[in-house]
């Protein structure tokens, strides 16, 4: 039987954080607005800039000081991460009025599969217009939409064309790949970063078409799976389904923290490791998981001379008791740390199993911890994460209090 060609869209929100803020603050409608990590500090980073600010030369990820130099009347707003998550979710719900197959890919990008519902709404381009209008009416966010027969081409149609044309909508059918996508320079290919770009140019691969016409064996030999992946992307081969349940599968629970300055003393680093372990274990306990693989990672302070490691260890029986996990975390850390200053640390627990049943032992050294944690978790659920914390977290090095007020490292 002939299989129907799919109708896939990628909906991308323009300057998402800034657009949401502008909708919430109509008084700034005609002003250049940025959302910045920490508006009080000129060293804060620009997280999002509205089109008016971009026109003045402000770019995402630059320092606030530089941005204000280019645009003195800049309105600087503090991020409200929970609010952005809520709006993103609201957009998911709006998109679900067109199809039940909606997959959020990031906070401002979502995939849709309209193959089996498009007959209800009209031609794909017309559906895209309805989507733009609906989202604009409800949230004030302008969206750009790439349309194609698979996810990866829809993504590239959006990034390379829909974001640049007037309508904000671009359909890239299979038959146009050669004529439209292949002439683009190779760095426009999805997943090609600056490093890969250099490698590819060195091989004489300048355009997406060049890569598509390179023998697969050559790329496989050079870069293995990643080489094959890029080749498939260039040829527009992507069978991945739009998967709404994709976020349900949890492979592991991890937390990572970038420190406000370099830490190098053992006592300070131990505070952070313990805080991270506590966060990870608490999340596991809330979700009813235990893990048996513990990993620790860290990165040095000097970005030009990268140092750091990422190591893991499997323990005998799965657990979610903070003190038990922390023993292994400490041990891993001290085995692999070379003593150089550290800027970011991460702890994670993987190979998760349900905590409904666990191995009882006659001399369970963590029995007390378990009941203590039950009590502290209960307090935190009720009064927030900052209600009770370990005494070491109150020390100068501690980050727990600060972190309790944040999502993704930015203010809630």
């Amino acid at each position: 039987m002939h299989k129907k060609e799919r109708v896939i869209m990628l909906v991308d929100c323009q300057s998402f954080y800034a657009s949401v803020e502008k909708a919430a603050h109509p008084q700034y409608k005609n002003k250049p607005v940025v959302v910045a990590g920490d508006p009080a500090r000129r060293s804060g980073i620009v997280l999002a800039a509205c089109p008016l600010a971009k026109k003045k030369g402000v770019v995402t990820a630059e320092r606030l000081g530089e941005a204000m130099g280019k645009c003195p009347d800049l309105i600087v707003l503090k991020p409200q991460m929970q609010f952005y998550i809520d709006v993103s979710f609201q957009i998911t719900r709006l998109l679900e009025t067109f199809t039940d197959l909606v997959e959020p890919y990031s906070i401002d990008e979502q995939f849709l599969d309209l193959t089996n519902t498009q007959h209800l709404f009209g031609a794909p381009e017309y559906i895209a217009e309805q989507i733009q209008e609906k989202i604009m009416d409800a949230t004030g966010v302008y969206t750009r939409i790439g349309i194609s027969y698979c996810k990866v081409v829809a993504k590239m149609a959006c990034d390379n064309f829909a974001k640049k044309n007037k309508k904000g909508i671009f359909g890239l059918p299979k038959k146009d790949l050669q004529a439209v996508l292949w002439p683009l320079p190779i760095h426009k290919l999805f997943l090609v970063g600056s490093r890969m770009n250099t490698h590819l140019l060195r091989l004489g691969i300048h355009t997406i078409g060049d890569l598509a016409n390179t023998p697969l064996s050559k790329l496989r030999e050079k870069w293995g799976v990643n080489g094959e992946l890029l080749w498939k992307i260039a040829k527009g081969l992507d069978a991945s389904p739009v998967t709404p349940q994709t976020h349900e599968m949890q492979k592991g629970i991890g937390h990572q923290m970038t420190l406000p300055r370099d830490y190098w003393s053992k006592t300070e680093l131990e505070v952070i490791l313990l805080e991270l372990t506590e966060l990870v274990c608490r999340r596991c306990r809330t979700k009813g998981y235990m893990g048996s693989v513990i990993s620790v990672g860290c990165r040095g302070a000097n970005f030009d001379r990268p140092t750091g490691f990422h190591r893991q260890k499997k323990i005998a029986a799965p657990t979610n008791v903070t003190n038990e996990v922390y023993e292994t975390v400490r041990q891993l850390f001290y085995t692999h740390w070379d003593g150089s200053p550290i800027r970011s640390l991460g702890v994670s627990l993987t190979q998760l199993v349900s905590d409904h049943e666990f191995q009882l032992s006659w001399f369970d050294p963590f029995e007390k911890d378990r009941s203590l944690e039950k009590a502290t978790d209960g307090l935190k659920d009720r009064y927030g994460d900052a209600i009770i914390m370990r005494a070491v977290s109150v020390a100068e090095a501690g980050q727990a209090k600060d972190r309790a007020a944040k999502i993704g490292g930015h203010y809630k």
Binding site: M81, Q82, I85, D86, S88, F89, T92, E103, P104, Y105, S106, I107, F111, K151, V152, L191, V225, N226, E228, L229, K232, D238, S240, P241, T243, P244, Q245, T246, H247, E248, R283, I407, G408
Partner: protein, 111 residues
């Protein structure tokens, strides 16, 4: 070893999702999966109340099926010791001197 070339692997390995965002989505999906209690026909309601009062009158042991929104209904066995029609609940006396109040509206079946 790498799953980038299978299933949804390309997107799962490349995406950036805040854990709080994922949680928001999952919470909603869980709620959506929850079952609604089916409406019982009058006849079935009649049978249920008959069996409940029989149990109370004759000290007869019965098993009650209680609706659960997760899809897995709960079963409890015992003897009805009290019926409170004003707040529509019954008291079930179980084996080990345990007793349980059951909301009449949550009862799916009685055997």
């Amino acid at each position: 070893m790498s799953k980038k070339l299978e299933g949804n692997g390309l997107w799962e390995s490349s995406r950036m999702m805040l854990p709080e965002h994922k949680e928001r989505i999952n919470l909603y999906n869980e709620q959506r999966k929850k079952k609604k209690k089916p409406q019982l026909i009058d006849e079935q309601v009649g049978i249920i109340s008959q069996r409940l009062s029989d149990s109370m009158m004759d000290d007869e042991e019965i098993t009650i099926e209680i609706f659960n929104e997760n899809g897995k209904n709960q079963f409890v066995t015992g003897i009805v010791s009290k019926m409170d029609s004003a707040i529509r609940r019954i008291k079930l006396q179980c084996y080990n001197d345990d007793c349980q109040w059951i909301q009449f509206d949550n009862i799916m079946d009685v055997k």
